[in-house]
């Protein structure tokens, strides 16, 4: 069979970083091709080159044997290449339908034919099986729904090559299922799918062939994913064996550290009660929209609460004020790294030390040495891949940005409660197990930790106890000895009879 898409000796460097060196491989028609590698290995860079967003220093891309020398995303788009980036690219203030038609609105003489606009999109969304209102503003949609809209856009444009950069990192399992069946459908139509993910399950389930990148170099190319094993891929990625990625161990638990009483807020109407003990890791599981993030934000004071109390070691913390929460010893790492996490335009160093720097700044005067030392410590501890701590955070790969945000929370002093929302989103297997180790270490020192995650294996792997949320309520509170995938999923589903469908 002829190679449909081919990368030939692609290299790309940024100041201080060789992002890709001499990458060559080919993908056949009608195939889902996986792309794996550690954070910063160069996956997104390769995709950006494919999409014309960036140009390679050397090398070329061939589609159906034809060399492509497009210079912009628009050219790539005309060549039939559509990329769905790690960070979503929709216009938040436009409706779903408008976003899908953006750039080529239907109508005459500049007047938009809004009937066609909405109806075509409605039919298309129904056909694909995406349950989103075409008239809804994108800013009102969940991250998961936005992702589906992006994918619908690619389908509407009848792309020959669709590249998806970590598409499921923000999807619920149900949305992921829809995406997978969509991918199967596209594949049978002969479309090439390039699929970047850190999740091995997905790679084995979806991909026919696979390329592994490591430090910008081609580490392995598998024509048949079915012929390899997980362990083999992991060691190709990380360069070492990882036997047990969770590494959970029994820990002694202390007194109640965090106590939450009848907490409610605008998006969480039912009062919530629970507590977390010293040294305990509490996993919060639920489907997207179950209210987990809302609750975390209420705890921390990121959103305003209606009523209820949150206390640490018996002392109530004043509501609706993140700064007060930090002073009381609570640290929060938000879920949406682009909007709530990274401070664009500023260095990794400043991003790490933004909340903790006040501790070593007498009279508000910074001490650059201590700041640098702190930043370097977390860059090393979390293995952030960067030439220097002075690098603008926007230049880091997605997973490395996530590590910096984690470092920000971990670098705060006197932490008693750590609330982290999707801490390992977009983080590679190797780094994940290191982050878990750090969490165990923190827990062992008496910190109470709440981990929100949509990945059930992760929640089950690292938690001492799981609270399952469903439609804004606590649906179940399960100790580790009773962990059971089926029970947890059943509790998470709003319609209890539908448990079998996942």
């Amino acid at each position: 069979m002829m190679a449909f898409l081919e990368f030939r000796t692609i290299s790309k460097s940024y100041p201080g970083v060789q992002a890709l060196s001499d990458i060559s491989f080919a993908v056949e028609k009608g195939v889902v091709h996986g792309l794996m590698g550690e954070n910063g290995a160069g996956k997104s860079t390769l995709i950006r080159i494919l999409s014309g967003d960036q140009s390679a220093d050397t090398g070329s891309i061939l589609i159906e044997g034809e060399e492509q020398n497009y210079r912009s995303a628009r050219d790539a788009f005309h060549a039939g290449v559509i990329v769905i980036h790690q960070e979503l690219q929709l216009v938040p203030e436009l409706t779903v339908a408008e976003n899908l038609w953006l750039g080529r609105f239907p109508g005459k003489a500049g007047i938009i034919d809004s009937r066609t606009l909405v109806e075509t999109v409605r039919t298309k969304l129904e056909e694909i099986g995406i349950d989103v209102d075409p008239n809804a503003k994108v800013s009102t949609l969940s991250i998961g729904a936005r992702q589906m809209v992006e994918i619908a856009k690619a389908v509407m444009l009848e792309a020959r090559v669709i590249a998806l950069d970590e598409p499921t990192s923000s999807l619920s399992s149900r949305e992921s299922e829809i995406l997978f069946s969509l991918i199967e459908k596209l594949k049978s139509n002969g479309t090439i799918i390039l699929y970047v993910s850190h999740r091995l399950d997905e790679i084995f389930r979806l991909c026919d062939s696979l390329t592994v990148l490591r430090d910008g170099k081609l580490a392995a190319h598998h024509l048949k994913v079915a012929d390899t094993t997980r362990d083999q891929i992991i060691s190709e990625m990380v360069g070492r064996e990882i036997s047990n990625i969770w590494g959970w161990r029994e820990r002694p638990l202390g007194d109640v550290r965090l106590d939450v009483r009848s907490l409610s807020g605008p998006k969480l109407r039912n009062p919530i009660n629970f507590s977390v003990r010293k040294g305990e890791i509490l996993g919060l599981f639920g489907l997207i929209g179950a209210g987990r993030s809302e609750m975390a934000r209420l705890l921390y004071g990121a959103d305003n609460r209606h009523q209820g109390s949150v206390s640490i070691d018996g002392v109530a913390i004043s509501p609706n004020n993140p700064k007060a929460a930090i002073n009381a010893g609570m640290v929060f790492c938000p879920e949406d790294r682009k909007f709530d996490g990274i401070v664009q335009g500023r260095s990794i160093e400043e991003n790490i030390t933004i909340s903790s720097r006040r501790h070593f700044s007498p009279f508000g005067i910074l001490s650059p040495k201590k700041e640098a030392a702190l930043a370097d410590r977390f860059i090393a501890k979390l293995r952030v891949r960067t030439p220097s701590r002075k690098q603008d955070i926007i230049n880091l790969s997605g997973g490395n940005q996530q590590k910096v945000i984690l470092g920000r929370g971990l670098s705060e002093q006197g932490v008693k409660v750590l609330v982290i929302d999707e801490p390992t989103r977009g983080i590679d297997v190797g780094a994940k197990s290191e982050i878990y180790e750090i969490l165990y270490e923190l827990a062992a020192s008496g910190i109470a930790i709440i981990v929100i995650s949509s990945e059930l294996p992760e929640v089950m792997g690292i938690s001492d106890r799981i609270i399952v949320m469903c439609q804004g309520r606590v649906a179940a509170d399960i100790p580790r000895s009773d962990f059971d995938e089926r029970n947890i999923l059943t509790a998470a589903l709003p319609d209890k009879n539908a448990a079998g469908t996942i």
Binding site: K323, N327, V343, L366
Partner: protein, 317 residues
């Protein structure tokens, strides 16, 4: 071509442009390099220079302040009227600083607490404060009674006029505040991403109020020095100052999208504005043309800002 672009849009790009412009002007414009002209040039940028210090903070935190020109005139006016009425210059200066600070505080509270757009708010206060200055003086210039007041602007330390020293001092102070204090870094963080900063424990509302209050206060310093130099309180002083100041800042690499600023850049931006004006005066170019040139500089500044952020990868979402 590419490396030239890199230099021009990089960190030191502006300094390079400035040095080149300075050399060219020194060679081709007679009298430019004389001591007298140099001091004159510096003196002419004192108002812009001083106000740029805090405008830098304002822009760096993604805000905007159009009311600075009016505040300068208003506080100059207050300084003169209060010293005349009370017979104490010190009292006059204090009143001016308070008045300027109060205008800034008002801006800050309205913008940060009530979440009104900064452009609109300061457009309003720009009119209100100018109006107050006109009402207080009945639209006329108010002369200074005590000649000691002139000494503020006329006195010299080591042959250099005091206002220039004050400007240099403020450059140093605010350069330090921006780079070496929590306040400065938090300002830049707010500009980079306000929500992320808030969640990281930065008190965004209070920071913004402080920045505006500081801006008003510094405008008062500029207003006092200006009144002293022109020996009177002029209700129409410093019209259009906001545009020159913003141009100087943007020219100096302060990003209008927030999050990026450097004191050295702003100083160079201020000097470029000053040199342009100075050269046009030396070459006897009619005042009307100077508006056109100033507008062009502003456009170039914004264009540079845009190119710079694309080069810095900010276009990449």
């Amino acid at each position: 071509m590419n490396s030239l672009k890199k230099i021009l849009l990089g960190e030191q790009g502006l300094v390079v442009i400035f040095a080149a412009a300075f050399v060219i002007v020194s060679i081709f414009v007679p009298n430019f390099l004389s001591e007298r002209n140099m001091l004159g040039l510096l003196q002419s940028v004192v108002t812009i220079g001083i106000v740029s210090c805090t405008m830098m903070f304002c822009l760096a935190s993604r805000d905007f302040d159009l009311s600075v020109g009016s505040t300068v005139a208003f506080s100059g006016m207050i300084a003169v009227m209060v010293s005349n009425a009370s017979g104490s210059i010190l009292l006059g200066l204090l009143a001016a600083l308070l008045a300027g600070g109060a205008v800034g505080l008002f801006n800050g509270v309205v913008i940060a607490k009530f979440r009104i757009n900064a452009l609109i708010t300061t457009l309003a206060t720009m009119q209100i404060v100018r109006g107050l200055a006109l009402i207080a003086s009945d639209g006329r210039a108010v002369g200074i009674n005590d000649p000691n007041f002139y000494q503020l602007a006329l006195s010299r330390i080591f042959t250099i006029p005091t206002p220039i020293w004050i400007m240099i001092l403020l450059f140093i102070v605010f350069g330090f505040v921006l780079n070496r204090t929590v306040f400065g870094k938090n300002t830049l963080a707010i500009g980079g991403n306000p929500e992320a900063s808030r969640l990281a424990g930065v008190n965004v509302v209070r920071m913004r109020i402080w920045i505006f209050a500081l801006q008003g206060f510094v405008c008062a310093i500029a207003g006092i020095l200006l009144a002293s130099r022109i020996t009177s309180g002029q209700p129409n002083a410093a019209t259009g100052l906001e545009l020159s100041v913003i141009s100087a800042c943007v020219l100096g690499g302060v990003s209008l999208a927030g999050g990026r600023a450097a004191m050295t850049g702003v100083i160079v931006g201020v000097l470029i504005m000053g040199i342009a004006e100075n050269v046009m005066n030396l070459l006897n170019i009619q005042a009307f043309y100077q508006y056109v040139v100033r507008g062009c500089i502003l456009l170039i500044a914004v264009l540079l800002d845009n190119l710079r952020s694309t080069a810095a990868g900010r276009g990449r979402v």
